[in-house]
Symmetry: C2
Subunit: 269 residues, 2 copies
């Protein structure tokens, strides 16, 4: 059992909290049982090491330890002090994995003939980004696209707030917004800017075709140039007196509206 919080290996894991270190090493940390369970289940080939405290090894034996060992992964027991030194979260619940960065490309995503996508441009809040990834997963979207000007989706806070969804669908990062909109159009995917200033109400948008929701910044929305490059600008109806919905709520409502139309059969499910 690893018990020295100042060991080189502990420092190396802890350093993954920094974006520069993640970029240099091509690895990132996943903290907490939900994320670790999902990465072991859906992306075991990317997991380098799993660290568990003795207590967590018992609690998550069936959920994490057994499946991880069955997948041929290294599961290391560490003291609670070592796990705390490795983790960003105050309460990582005794489990942490070091995972290779996946690098799906926009070409990969488009080659799979996607029906439903979401593009985050300039999204800065980790919780918002993570919640949109989770909502996109729940709505059955084919992938999440993230512009280079957005928050790093491999930061501990985003990884946590995706609740494991980061390992359920491709998340393409570092994209140029304009080039991405052009590539989507060329691939026959319509682009819908989600914006309170949109002329088209969500129930009137054509959601049966393959499309990508384009989301702007939490505070200032989408710049006019981006809205103009999109095929339509769509707004979620506000029925009460609220000025707007927050970004994650608006994205989730749009994605669920799309799923509801795309997955409806003759009985209008």
């Amino acid at each position: 059992m690893l018990t020295n919080p100042r060991a080189d290996r502990v420092r190396a894991v802890s350093a993954l909290r920094k974006r520069s270190v993640r970029q240099r090493t091509g690895r990132f940390g996943v903290e907490g049982p939900q994320g670790v369970r999902e990465v072991v289940r859906y992306a075991a080939d990317r997991v380098r090491d799993v660290y568990v405290t003795p207590e967590a090894a018992v609690r998550y034996d069936a959920d994490i330890v057994v499946p991880a060992r069955a997948a041929g992964l290294w599961v290391h027991e560490v003291s609670p002090e070592v796990l705390a030194a490795m983790a960003d979260a105050e309460a990582p619940q005794g489990v942490l994995a070091v995972v290779d960065v996946a690098e799906p490309t926009l070409d990969d995503v488009l080659a799979a003939a996607p029906r439903l996508l979401v593009l985050l441009t300039n999204v800065r809040d980790p919780g918002n980004a993570g919640t949109v990834i989770r909502g996109a997963d729940a709505a059955g979207a084919d992938a999440v696209l993230v512009s280079e000007s957005s928050v790093d989706v491999l930061s501990p806070k985003v990884v946590r707030s995706t609740a494991g969804s980061l390992f359920h669908l491709p998340v393409v990062t570092g994209l140029d917004t304009d080039a991405t909109l052009a590539a989507l159009s060329a691939a026959g995917v319509r682009t819908y800017a989600a914006d309170g200033a949109g002329a088209t109400l969500l129930p009137d948008a054509d959601l049966a075709v393959a499309h990508c929701w384009v989301m702007g910044n939490e505070a200032w929305g989408l710049p006019a140039e981006t809205r103009e490059r999109c095929d339509d600008v769509v707004r979620v109806p506000i029925h009460g007196r609220a000025e707007s919905l927050n970004l994650a709520m608006a994205a989730t409502i749009c994605l669920y509206a799309s799923a509801s139309v795309q997955r409806s059969g003759p009985t209008a499910r």
Copy 2:
């Protein structure tokens, strides 16, 4: 201009951050321009005092200062140090109001023949509670009901996260869950537990009738007794691999589904 952060008046405002003081005085603080603007606009009769820094007085002159004075309210200039001492937020953006607690009752709400309600039982996270109130407002719900075991909706964090929606629709607090479910049924309002274990999928629920969404705790959901007391248990479909949606997202999707059905005309808007 009030410049002494240790003045009695400053301490009295600052003390409103404590639930016990809010309960004793029947007042609470609203921080930041969005909340203050909305309370001045929609509930000016409940505003006791508005405090602004000189900089904020200029910036929010048309939005807050002029409407507040037109409504006969006291607008006091205070130094930035005084505002910081009064406020809970790190960046209250120069504006704070002290507001009388409203006490709408469940009877008031039911007397208005509501079509769409949401009941929060055991919701503990301030951001979740605030986001649901904002989503209920946007979806045009008639009121939000909050059980006695939930977070205090007048705490600074909840007030902030409602983004002003707290003043847009009645929010009834301190309710007993079982008694509330009984009162809703007696008033002809159907009760739908939103729960991942529900047998009815959201698109199959009868949303045309008057109904109330019943939301449980963030982590453990609704107890079986509560689910059984409801007329139906409804789940939001999960199309991808996500285990669940978070509470605020699930509530917003349910409320928007209801609004979409209740507000649809012959053209299925």
